[in-house]
Symmetry: C2
């Protein structure tokens, strides 16, 4: 097993991001020195995956604090607020961006921080804590999800939810990894995940490096794979989960969930609690990002459709709660009815924050 | 409206094929002088679409007859038989190849043909007749399908079934075209259809030239399009229909049919009778072609997945009869139970062959 390169690394004065747009052909990093550069890296998908973009936004605020010219804490808080809004808007669907921004701003707002140095140090420390927590959260998701994967499991997976979608380890693929590391035999059917091909470019690459066997398929072949090979479960991540369990995730997830339902295949969502948005009552409250036509009409810069094609390119879709078997959170598995279970998971994380080991909280 | 270039044209001494692998970036023709070249053009998808490859195989036998060095009819028939087997095997799933080869060989076998010139002329004439009949069949499918498209219809379409999939006009898209030509407003959601992108490359291009409004989407967005926009019907073609109605068509069709079923959207298959294989009792008798990994791992020659990725690339899938609302054949609409209706459609075509206008039979 070879660990993939780091999704993101805080370098003290800059944020280093693995450029996921170039994988697997090129393994290259991009350094962000300003919050604007961090926001642009989120927007143009240098970094993607809900947990990863949340932590990137947190470090974006660390960059804002570092570059800030304010001479008093309230001036710095003001600048952080402006940078936070910019980062929050860089992509609209994943809730982690807003969650990360809110958490950093809250940390910066503690009244006892009475110098710009204190605010700056606190912001950087909080971002580092969030990065460390993200890995721990993923490992917990892996442990909770483990019993759902029988030995010999055939798993159908959409998009990328591995270490590249997070600070490290991964959410849905973290469960697969936990199973493989524990000696279970698993096989992953990897949806290529058009238009950005995160399955083909990132998931296949990660699984190959981890020595976990997989078969790459087109998105349209998923239902036929269920029929021909038998699939034991679907495993996906999520970008925003409404209070009732309706789930926004990468486009194609809903299509896959319908195929799973028709085949009686359980459909599991790996879900860090930070992705649950109790302010969204249901999926219809979730704003779906629509991206540029050329993500579909051009591949690697080459036209694969008429230049004037009219395109609908939603980055995400919403899978209704009734097509989901369970959520796997760091606080345990949430089964239907999802409302109370998701609310419990959120409450547990809020009270746990007070008990997170010092080691982790300091990053 | 601009007519797309001809899918195939018999030039008297060669078969001219539009190279569909290069569309829409380049509009180029390839000339086939031998049956081997025709078989290779089918295999490498220079020409594709069940009706088009059937007629290409017929002209492949015309090329065999032209190039044949035999001095007596039985020697020529022998060579035609060998060329026919080669053409039949060039792609395994679409039944039209075998149907076309059988029909030409049967025409060549008529005992009164007592010179190589007679056999050769008969083979060429029969191939020309089949080409002319194909257009007439598509126009009839268009007329029969017309009542199924309400004015203002939102149609979801997979792969390419337009003039490029046939000699001209198209099957499923022929119905759309008939509706548009008759003044109905229609809008087509075009599945891009990975891995070969026939939707993006061919269907979008054809619809654009015909002035029929469309929206290009990824295959995985089809279910979400049904949810967000409302889709009135799905329209697809077919490559082999078993006697019970189970239908092999481009990979992704089955997945789409499940989404349609979940949304209560009617799922129609445009089906020239030549595509019905009464020798296949059900879908499990249909052999599914698997194509090279690099159709998925490389796009326009550029890697989009690890070079050593393990890939499953079935060119087709099988949609079970119970996910299909109706077949639209040149002999009318066939509704469940499909067995008797499909058998009737086949019988009607067999008896009609005796009554096809001389004009058409002479090509």
């Amino acid at each position: 097993m070879t660990e993939p390169p780091k999704t993101l690394s805080w370098m003290g004065d800059r944020l280093r991001l693995l450029d996921q747009r170039k994988l697997p052909a090129e393994v290259m990093n991009v350094d962000c020195f300003t919050p604007e550069e961090a926001a642009e890296a989120i927007r143009n998908m240098t970094v993607r995956g809900a947990p990863a973009i949340g932590v990137t936004a947190a470090f974006g605020l660390a960059l804002a604090a570092l570059r800030c010219g304010a001479t008093d804490p309230s001036g710095m808080r003001n600048e952080l607020g402006i940078a936070g809004e910019m980062l929050r808007l860089s992509r609209p669907t994943a809730v982690n961006l807003g969650w990360a921004v809110d958490r950093i701003l809250k940390a910066a707002d503690i009244p006892r921080l009475d110098s710009v140095e204190d605010v700056r140090a606190t912001v950087i420390r909080e971002a580092e804590t969030m990065a460390a927590e993200d890995v721990e959260i993923n490992r917990r998701i892996g442990r909770h999800g483990l019993p759902l994967l029988p030995d010999g499991a055939r798993i159908l997976h959409h998009c990328n939810t591995g270490s590249l979608a997070a600070v490290d380890y991964g959410t849905a693929l973290g469960i697969v990894r936990t199973a493989a590391e524990g000696g279970k035999k698993v096989h992953v059917f990897v949806d290529e995940t058009r238009p950005r091909l995160q399955g083909a470019r990132l998931t296949a690459w990660e699984l190959g490096r981890l020595g976990i066997p997989y078969t790459l398929i087109t998105d349209g072949a998923a239902a036929f794979a269920m029929k021909m090979f038998g699939v034991d479960l679907c495993l996906v991540g999520c970008d925003r989960v409404a209070a009732n369990g309706d789930t926004a995730n990468k486009i194609g997830t809903y299509h896959l969930a319908l195929a799973a339902k028709a085949h009686g295949v359980p459909f599991y969502v790996a879900c860090p609690v930070s992705t649950i948005d109790m302010d969204c009552v249901s999926g219809s409250d979730i704003r779906i990002e629509e991206r540029d036509a050329d993500e579909i009409t051009r591949i690697n810069g080459i036209a694969v459709a008429p230049a004037d094609a009219v395109v609908w390119n939603p980055a995400f879709d919403v899978t209704p709660a009734d097509a989901i078997t369970a959520f796997i959170t760091e606080n345990g598995i949430v089964r239907p009815p999802f409302g109370p279970g998701l609310a419990d998971a959120v409450r547990k994380s809020e009270s746990d924050r007070l008990r997170i080991p010092r080691r982790l909280r300091r990053g």
